[in-house]
């Protein structure tokens, strides 16, 4: 029983990291109708930003965390402006290849700046561990859970109620009509990239705090898992990304604990394949009707 609860909490924590990343994929897909495969590497940039500012420049941890979020948000805007905006009217394959190119660019830039050896992530989240009925919960794990929950609620309210949120929903439904309503779709897309990348930075911080070591390819695996989560939940759907991330995190941790550590990844991707066979639109995805 203790193992079960322990695994569940670990799964929830890992799942919320996936959910944070998946939100970036799904928001960008919803509005720009593109898969930003460089999104995973933004996590890595976020983690390195903390290492650079806290470990190397000895700035206080809070400053490091804020810097990391700001840098990633700016990076998201920059990537969109330089790489994707010129391709707004190009075939989606061109955009996809470009995204993969940006991903390699970011990884190799990190390799150039920080070297190939893994660096240890500074202790930025100093919280005591909890022991509850024989279950050990790390402070970081709890912080991840609570902060992610707060972020998700805030994001949902933001999309639902604010002017910018409405502009984002409108642009994702019909760009031309939104533009004719006075919404600058280009600006809305930039903001979406900024928000998605800021969430990726936060995910990077939690990931670093949980897994300690960071290397230039760190972002690839959580990135691809989060993408899986976004598709699993229904790409384009925000609650879908949250749900998909958490479910995938739980599946992964349970597979590791009860089946095999080696098989865990295969099981996660296997679940996606199964999902795509049963319900190709994902858990909460809706059928997209072709416009006539």
């Amino acid at each position: 029983m203790t193992t079960f609860i322990q695994t569940l909490i670990d799964g929830l924590s890992l799942g919320s990291i996936y959910a944070l990343i998946a939100l970036g994929y799904t928001m960008v897909y919803g509005i720009a109708k593109m898969l930003n495969f460089a999104h995973g590497d933004v996590i890595m940039v976020g983690a390195y930003a903390v290492i650079a500012s806290v470990s190397m420049a000895s700035l206080p941890p809070v400053v490091g965390l804020i810097l990391s979020v700001v840098i990633c948000a700016a990076l998201g805007i920059l990537i969109e402006f330089l790489a994707y905006k010129p391709l707004r009217k190009s075939p989606s394959l061109a955009v996809l290849i470009t995204a993969i190119g940006v991903s390699y660019l970011l990884q190799n830039l990190a390799l150039l700046i920080f070297g190939s050896e893994q660096l240890s992530f500074p202790q930025v989240i100093n919280l005591p561990d909890f022991a509850f009925a024989g279950v050990q919960i790390k402070g970081v794990t709890l912080a991840t859970l609570v902060i992610t929950a707060v972020i998700m609620i805030a994001l949902t309210l933001f999309i639902k109620t604010t002017k910018l949120g409405k502009a984002m929903r409108a642009s994702s439904e019909d760009k031309d009509a939104a533009e004719l309503m006075g919404i600058s779709v280009n600006r809305t897309i930039s903001i979406t990239f900024a928000i998605g990348s800021a969430l990726a930075a936060i995910a990077g911080i939690f990931y670093g705090a949980s897994y300690v070591y960071i290397k230039p390819t760190t972002g690839a695996m959580p990135g691809i898992k989060a993408f899986t989560a976004a598709v699993f939940g229904g790409i384009g759907s925000i609650p879908g990304a949250m749900l998909g991330g958490i479910i995938l995190g739980i599946i992964e941790k349970f597979s590791q604990a009860y089946i095999s550590t080696l098989w865990a990844d295969a099981i996660v991707f296997g679940v996606l394949v199964l999902m795509l066979v049963i319900k190709p639109t994902g858990l909460l995805g809706k059928d997209i009707k072709e416009k006539v």
């Binding site: 805030a154 309210l157 933001f158 639902k160 109620t161 604010t162 002017k163 910018l164 409405k166 502009a167 929903r169 409108a170 439904e173 019909d174 031309d176 009509a177 939104a178 533009e179 004719l180 309503m181 006075g182 919404i183 600058s184 779709v185």
Partner: protein, 283 residues
Amino acid sequence: MENNNSSKLVPYPSNALVTERDLHKPPVLEVNHLGIDFGGLTAVDDFSIIIGRTEIAGLIGPNGAGKTTVFNLLTNVYKPTRGNILLNGYSTSGKTTAQVNRMGIARTFQNIRLFSKMSVIDNVKVGMHMSVKENFLSSLSHGFGYSKAEKIANERALELLDFFSMADLAKAQAGSLPYGAQRRLEIIRALATNPSIVLLDEPAAGMNPSETAELMENIRRIRDTFNIAIMLIEHDMSLVMGICEGICVLNYGKIIAKGSPDEIKKNPTVIEAYLGKKKEAQD
């Protein structure tokens, strides 16, 4: 149908026609020699028109004459190859569609293009988007959705909906509304952007005669209440002849006639464009 419009057409400087009522006010829209080529094909050519401050104008013509292209040019969805557009006296050249909307032009679509997954009131509030000042920090500090700006937007949106007796549908999903209500909502959404001219692309399409009569009443009411100009594309001649003060007839991308409904009805070129030449028909 008898044309019972209050104001008759009089010559405007530069020989365009506007209603007497609008003669001494600057025109809302002045279009000079507008044209666009798609590859080698000239879709619209030498399109010049002046729309008075509170005029209801009609743009008619056979299918494929370029009417919707004109609307797309006026809103900068297409960039004109030739000519210029002055909206409230300012050139719209080089502006984005969103900027042109903020300069005072709004439109509806031939096939309804609401944000169908959003609620009715949110559709209207999207239209108000630019006139409501709000920034991220202020919405954070007030709690999402409870800022003063949001409150004002809410009230204004409800007022607009009420004007078309749709306030009770505010929370419904836009895509679930009946056809006629969707058409009305699209007009409300356009009005929410606070335009000086609204372009209506076939507003009566798919409506029955009683719905069309109600629409005509609404169009007049919009003009009288908001004091704005309206330009509409329509195939329903009873609507066009019933409410339009000035009519512009387009054929093969060129204006073939301009004038009051009575003049247009009698114009032989227009009759020919719609029905073909008399002699050819007899052959």
